[in-house]
Amino acid sequence: MISETALSQTMLATIVPAFSQSLPQAADYVRILPEIVLSVFGMIVMVLEPLLDEETGQKILGVIALLGTLAGLGATWLMAQSPGLAFWNMVQVDGFSIFFHVLVIAIAAVVILSSYEYMAVQRIRAGEYYALILFGVVGMALMSSAIELVLIFIALEISSISSYVLAGFRRNDAASAEASLKYFLLGSFATAFFLYGVALMFGATGSTNIARISQALQAGPIPLPAYVAVAFMFVGLGFKVAAAPFHVWTPDVYEGAPAPVVGFMSTAPKAAAFAVLLRVVFVIDVPGIFWIIWVAAALSMTLGNVSAMVQDNVKRLLAYSSIAHAGYLLVAFAAAPAIGTSAAMFYTAAYAATNLGAFAVVTHFANAGERYVTLEDYEGLGRSSPLLAATLTVFLLSLIGIPMTGGFFAKFYVFSAAVKANLIWLTVIGVLNSGIGAYYYLRIIVMMYMRESRKEVPVTPVPFALALALAACMAATLYLGLFPGGVLQYAQDSAQQLVGRARPNLPSSTPTSAIAGTP
């Protein structure tokens, strides 16, 4: 009996998890309940789509998808009640994965809300749009809880493939098709890198389980393929988060893809990829990755901000801005694990709320055929539509990092973590960049308030669903800007769990004083 357990343990340690040992328990299913619920709703949308007539069908499908996200949030709550491992140590439910589950599902809900009007105005009639969003979220949610490289890869593919299709949804627009194809080709290339990295890592350590890899690497001298593997995985994930030098696809894809999809792409898959990166970087600790991240962070911030300055298309401008923000986020990765993780988590949340809001306004304003997306179109918006302009202003100020908005605390925590880790130069590059970055956001504000409109740009009243989406983003941005304590505390606790579990040998005194500071 005893030898049998010992045998099973050695088997677990080897390549194949012992599938025959035990069947999944009910708890295992609870721990992926949000994914199950979202998939079911996605399938309902797919099944109902041909049965409903085109005009009314759109609305109903959208409402079903929205309900799906709400049910997904409820399922996340249930999932949160039973933290632990599931499916033979492939999935882990902890504070960290719950945080990202809530984040990506909430993002999907807001995107669905802001898509109603867009789909109607652009005359895109396709129920699978909503299904694709739901399936994409399944992949992203799974990315945040998977602790097994192969499962991470599968989740990454689920999320990527739906994004590829979503990017090309303005079917009869050449730019959109170009965006989709470009995204698909480059994206497949990048995920191939990731997969290659996984394979190399498996060769170097004999496992694809993150915790086990970490143990193997800590046990002895680090084999050379492990370095290469981490670098390759970083290439794959760096592409997904649009970090320089893997960012070249971003402006074209963001420009061509439908506006609400861009809002989605620039937040949810990024958040999920950052979640994976956090696990990979902080749990599989390979020396040298620090410098890769350092360089990528500095490059992303600088290239993103400098290029954004000369853009005249708002979508392109926001694309470059998202590259810059990926850079700020990577600064947190270069900092010490516990401090950096919580700062990065807070940043993803604040950035998601802000950027989604900004894109929701852009979506509404773009109008049929996305005609109004240049900076000049925003001239005089402050007069013709004061409320919409004020809303966009708040989001832009948050992107600059002005106090009272979530963006301020996000930057603040990231740089605070970097200073704490003694990354003075990276911090200086970062703060200087955030100063320079203010310029191009300010350009939009200048256009809206300080110039008179020269051409007739129709501004339609904001429909209810979009107003709801904007209100949600606004509330989240201001909440994170005025009362950041709650979210940050949660992020710190779960970061502590994550890092403490993975690297117990880490001195526990450093994380406690993380951003908190000695009372």
Binding site: I402, F408, G435
Partner: protein, 505 residues
Amino acid sequence: MSADTWRPYILTLVTFAPLLGGLLLILFPRRDRDIRIFALVISLLTFVLSLHLPVYFDRAQADFQYQVDRQWVSAPNIHYHMGVDGISLWLVVLTTFLTPLCVLISWKSIHGRVKEFFILLLILETALIGVFVSLDLFLFYFFWEATLIPMALLIGIFGHERKVYAAVKFFMYTMIGSVFMLAAILWLYAHTGSFDFVTIRERIASGAVLKFPAAAQWLFLGFFLAFAVKVPLFPFHTWLPDAHVEAPTAGSVLLAGVLLKMGTYGLLRFNLGLFPEQSRQNAWWVMTLALIGIIYGALVAMVQPNMKKLIAYSSVSHLGFVVLGIFSFTQAGLNGAMFVMLAHGVSTGALFMLAGILHERRHTYEISEFGGLASPVPVYAATYLVIVLASAGLPLLNGFIGEFLVLSGAFQDKAVYGILGATGIIWSAVYLLWMYQRVFYGKVTHAVNNSLSDLSGFEKVAIWPCAAAALVMGVAPILWLAAIDPAVQAALNPLVRVASRMVGP
């Protein structure tokens, strides 16, 4: 209710009353008259509330008073910590004093988007007061950045021809300057675990901060750059003339009257307070820059054809005096610097209002467009004269006291600083009186000026308080200095200690 029950709440009340008013204004219907009256009521109410501070201020005590200290965010350890000492006390009152005057002077001159204008003005007031009363470095940075947006919008929306250029320039200069301060604040937090000004000061002074000696010079520079841009110290001053010329009158008044003082206040409070040793070491070049600013600002002011630009450059010159006084590290110099800040706020604020009045009537600031105005607008001319003399430093008016104290402080430090600085007084008399002569004396050169209307009721109510304040400050400076002196002495103590250590055995 007695004054004591108010004590912990008064600063919060004074700081946020304008913001509350601004938020209420959002709900107002667009009836311009109501909006103006409401803004005036709110700003006057804030002024009255703020008078509570000097009235119940304990002048014998150098420590911070009316303190409130609550945890705002637990991690990071951010406190809602406010308090005033003799240094910040009067700057708060200066802000609340000037804001209602700004409302009055904008009564007729702002036509379109009245609601937005007054909302921004009130938000700006809250941010400005917040800067002066914050004792938590985070809170301070929070308000510091918060002043940027309303000011940039005031310039950018309500300004003159090149308003957008000026607004963006103003924003970018200040923003980039202040991010270095953010980095320095973060460093201090990382190594002390606190944002609290008093705590950090104590830890640094007791030598408890590791790695501090190596980083101190950089930290000093980080703070210094943010403040130097704001002051503005030569060579960071180029945003100022643009911002002033393009800003609406009320914007200029608050910009010159209060915003620039944020810089000098910051130098005094943070650079001197936190880094006494580095302040000593860097004093020579800071004072050199200040002297260049005094003389250069004055010379450039002299040749300006544009009245508003002239006043703007005179600010560069006057603020040079403030920095000179601060870095002389003498009791007299610091007292003088504080007094110049207040005096400059009152008299330059009034000068901008007067220039704005002329612009409203003639739509130009060109000095050559005027001449002989004394006969068509005698009341205006007389008021202008009082303010010009106050600004030029005539004894019995407010400019004299401060500059005299600064110069005596500079002499105590090094005679050459005093001698060079003293020329600034001559220069200021030259450019101001010459401008006055060209505008008001002689015959009326442009016929259109004959029909100019004199000061209206609103304008009198807006400017005469400044003139009265200039006179009272000149005659009875002790009313202000009684509170300033102990605080300045306390600020000097660590510097004196440093000096004795540097000279010592």
